[in-house]
């Protein structure tokens, strides 16, 4: 059997850590091959080696049986390897066409022939069912479509082998479904795909085989058809994993957060949060379910002081925090696991240790008379890294060098550790492995049992259903229903999220 890709005994080191230790990966032509492993296991690293972004210390790579030396991404491109990165690499104010042809411009008489390129892109798009408008500007299109532009970019460059690094982490359930269809179409047309994902459901649904990595070492490759989510999770973590978190019924008390008639406008003066009312009580986890773009982001930003409130009030612990500065809101008892970890959650160029006091550096004992106390800061950071199992070579490693999931765990550690009276958890488990998800969920429940109020925002209906005590459905900037997770179904929630119309649900884009 000849493989389209064979990576043999790859070893890649970073200062203080072996990210890949003797890993072997064999991909057959026309298959969707899953790459599974805990946060920091070394999946992205292995793919970056294949794509020529990193040079391995040891090991060989064979493409269609031929030994190759991939020293930079251009070589990878020429070998027919394309990569869709987790963080898109698109020029915001360029059109789709301009982005796709960047670096591969077709010229006639020295001028770029955009029309011809657009036509070609339209053809490719139709062939694979990508539904991309070649003339749209990147800044105006949804995350899902941006991802399809990234896919087109690789296809346009003639990719035969496509690498996807956690493509579904940023997508809504609807978009994930579409992506899976696209992947299937791609392999039907003879492409081969490597898919990194933490969602076992997706592996079961779309993949043919799955290679598991644990702490940098290859554990094995299995046929998905003859495996189960439980088996995969065990292979990956090395122990049994509980998929459902145990929790006692909530014992809610008084309201900690109260929102009345809240109106928030976006930059175009459109009220994206519109006369919204909501209460979160002490000792409960309130989940917010909704299709992306129904005002969730603006609601959270308004509560936390990052976005101006047009009218209405927000009170926290009885204190009016409407339009207060973020520091003031934090001091009134807010903890915030932000939705976008790179934008808000971390200063990526600071060390991970320094990031651990991003909210508290100015307080005792981390500083005194404006002088930072590094000893205390480092001790705190070490304790948090241990407790939350953040895998990093040291506390001095730049946050940028941590794997995506470990960055997320670090943020959660920082916010949960302060044990705020009111904790916002926005997409808290995005990009986390199943073991870490279990751990984070139990932490959120622990906070609840201490009598804190938790607001959980997530696109994962599973997560909302399992973790929340009450579910508020947001639609077009309003809370349209509050339901009990024990008495509802995903179908019912789906209907409510789509605006409550009882006819065809789920087709809202």
């Amino acid at each position: 059997m000849e493989y389209v890709i064979e990576m043999r005994n790859i070893r890649k080191e970073f200062p203080g850590i072996v990210a890949n230790d003797n890993v072997t990966l064999q991909v057959q032509k026309g298959e969707i091959h899953a790459l599974l492993g805990e946060n920091g296991a070394g999946k992205s690293t292995l793919m970056n080696v294949l794509f020529g972004l990193y040079q391995p210390e040891q090991g060989e790579i064979y493409i269609k049986g031929e030994k190759v030396d991939i020293t930079d991404p251009n070589i990878a491109n020429n070998l027919g390897i394309g990569m869709v990165h987790q963080h898109f690499m698109l020029v915001e104010n360029f059109t789709v066409t301009e982005n796709i042809i960047l670096g591969r411009e077709i010229t006639t008489g020295g001028r770029i022939d955009l029309k011809k390129a657009a036509k070609e892109i339209q053809k490719l798009s139709d062939q694979y069912g990508l539904r991309v408008d070649p003339y749209a500007k990147i800044e105006n299109i949804s995350v899902g479509m941006q991802q399809r532009v990234e896919i087109l970019k690789t296809l346009y460059r003639g990719a035969e082998i496509l690498i996807f690094d956690e493509p579904t982490a940023v997508l809504t359930p609807q978009e994930i479904h579409e992506l899976m269809e696209i992947l299937k179409k791609l392999v039907a047309e003879g492409k081969s795909i490597i898919l990194i994902t933490h969602k076992l459901k997706e592996i079961m649904e779309a993949c043919d085989r799955c290679t598991v990595i644990r702490r940098g070492r290859g554990i094995g490759t299995v046929d998905v058809a003859s495996s189960s989510p439980r088996h995969l999770a065990e292979m990956m973590v090395g122990r049994e994993v509980n998929f459902k978190v145990e929790k006692q019924p909530a014992q809610p008390k008084g309201a900690v957060l109260e929102i009345t008639n809240l109106v928030v406008e976006d930059s175009r003066k459109v009220p994206v949060v519109n006369e919204l009312n909501l209460q979160v009580k002490s000792g409960e986890i309130l989940g917010i379910a909704g299709v992306d773009g129904n005002g969730q982001t603006e609601l959270l930003e308004a509560i936390t002081g990052l976005h101006k409130v047009k009218s209405g009030t927000v009170t926290l612990n009885g204190e009016n925090i409407t339009n207060q500065k973020p520091r003031k809101v934090t001091q009134s008892g807010l903890g915030h696991i932000p939705q976008d970890r790179h934008k808000h959650g971390l200063v990526l160029d600071f060390s991970i240790g320094t990031n651990m006091v991003l909210q508290t550096y100015y307080q005792q004992p981390f500083s005194k008379h404006k002088i930072l106390k590094f000893q205390t800061i480092h001790n705190k950071a070490k304790a948090l890294i241990d407790e939350f199992d953040v895998r990093t070579p040291s506390i001095h490693t730049p946050a940028r060098a941590l794997s995506g999931g470990n960055q997320q765990k670090a943020i959660i550690a920082r916010e949960v550790d302060r044990s705020p009276d009111f904790l916002i958890a926005a997409q808290p488990t995005r990009g986390l492995d199943v073991g870490a998800i279990e751990f984070i969920h139990s932490k959120l429940i622990q906070e609840r049992d201490k009598g804190k109020a938790v607001l959980l925002v997530s696109f994962e209906l599973d997560e909302i259903m399992h973790v929340s005590d009450r579910i508020a459905v947001i639609y077009e900037g309003k809370i349209v229903a509050i339901v009990d997770p024990k008495e509802t179904t995903e179908q019912e929630l789906g209907l409510l999220m789509a605006g409550g119309k009882k006819d065809k649900a789920g087709d809202k884009v």
Binding site: E13, P15, Q55, T304, L306, K325, P326, R327, K328, V329, T330, H336, P338, K343, H344, G345, L346, V347, L348, D349, F350, T354, L358, Q359, Y361, Y362, S367, K370, I371, L372
Partner: protein, 351 residues
């Protein structure tokens, strides 16, 4: 080998760049018919040959340390302060004004004159800072414009209020002077002054603020990621303005080195002094760190000083040193290229 590369890479780039710059400088000399060995010999004599040259090197380097620190401080907080030149000029004038017009014992007069320079520089820096924080006007544009206002503004003030024969102000009073007969004697009459001490103190202050205080934490956080800073409750606007104020103050102190040290007066400038612009190069070569900047400033000071000897002893035009400096900067800026080269070498060595 790998450990070494990781730890020493920041030092490797400037050292590599300097060596490359000197080699290419030598090639240019060869091509144009000069003897590079004689020229570099003269350069070395020009710096270390006698105590006068050494003293003059220190004198040239002193303001460069400060202007380098000013650029670096802003850079560390995510700002490009191209206005150091103008801040140097207003700092120079303010210190000379206090030096001329006040009567006080040295312990009061000298610090006051330096502080006046710092304050003037800070004000000159705050204006672009405010414009950036409140109206999002890019600081590169405003600081460049502030340079011209400073150049013609200081000239205008001197002409209108302080003019003495020779297109200059009066000399400052000796109680405000950094000059030193002792240092002069020691260095056979060079213009070396006590400013070096001030520059080193400022270097320590910069290091301390940036790395030891909560203020530095905030400034650096804002420099790296404004969104995360906002999320953490850090006042982004305040920190942009503060960063420009401190950077400007450092630049203003650089101006006082000229006013209270080297010249003891201020003359009407037909063109920019270059101290501020050289600061950009010094900061770049010094990798924006206190120690790196001091070393880089001495290197540039030495090259400038040695150039004089190079032209008199080896007949090589002083402009050649300008070319070498430009080459060094070019290579630092191309550190990516150097990175790539060193990668090639270390990889080749292992295979």
């Amino acid at each position: 080998m790998k450990m070494m590369k990781g730890r020493f890479f920041p030092i490797l780039v400037p050292v590599f760049s300097v060596i490359l710059g000197l080699i290419i400088g030598a090639i240019i000399m060869l091509v144009s018919g000069y003897d590079p060995i004689a020229a570099y010999g003269a350069l070395v004599t020009g710096v270390f040959g006698d105590s006068y040259n050494l003293g003059e090197t220190v004198r040239t380097a002193t303001p460069l340390i400060l202007s380098g620190l000013a650029v670096a401080f802003a850079f560390r907080t995510g700002l490009f302060n191209i206005g150091v030149e103008g801040q140097v000029l207003v700092g120079w004038l303010a210190s000379v004004y206090v030096g001329i017009s006040l009567d006080a014992p040295m312990v009061i007069h000298l610090p006051l004159a330096i502080l006046a320079g710092a304050l003037a520089g800070a004000i000159w820096g705050v204006i672009p800072g405010l414009l950036k924080a409140k109206f999002k006007v890019h600081e590169v544009i405003t600081t460049i414009m502030m340079n011209y206002i400073a150049l013609y503004g200081t000239n205008g003030i001197i002409r209108a209020y302080l003019l003495q024969p020779g297109e200059r102000t009066k000399d400052i009073k000796s109680s405000a002077s950094l000059g030193s007969a002792f240092l002069g004697e020691l260095t056979e009459g060079s213009r070396m002054h006590y400013g070096l001490i001030v520059a080193i103190i400022v270097a320590v202050i910069m290091w301390f603020i940036l790395w030891k205080t909560t203020t530095g934490y905030e400034l650096r956080a804002v420099g790296f990621n404004q969104h995360a800073s906002q999320y953490a409750g850090i006042n982004v606007s305040k920190n942009i303005i503060l960063a420009m104020a401190i950077s400007g103050a450092f630049a203003g102190v650089a101006g006082t080195m000229e006013g209270l040290g080297t010249f003891q007066y201020m003359s009407i400038n037909n063109a920019f002094t270059g101290v501020g612009f050289d600061g950009i190069a010094v900061s770049l070569l010094g990798a924006n760190g206190s120690i790196g900047i001091i070393v880089a400033a001495f290197l540039f000071g030495g090259l400038k000083q040695g150039a004089l000897e190079m032209s008199s002893a080896a007949g090589v035009p002083t402009e050649l040193v300008g070319i070498i400096i430009a080459l060094i900067i070019f290579f630092v800026a191309c550190s990516y290229l150097v990175h790539w080269l060193t990668n090639r070498f270390t990889k080749g060595g292992k295979l």
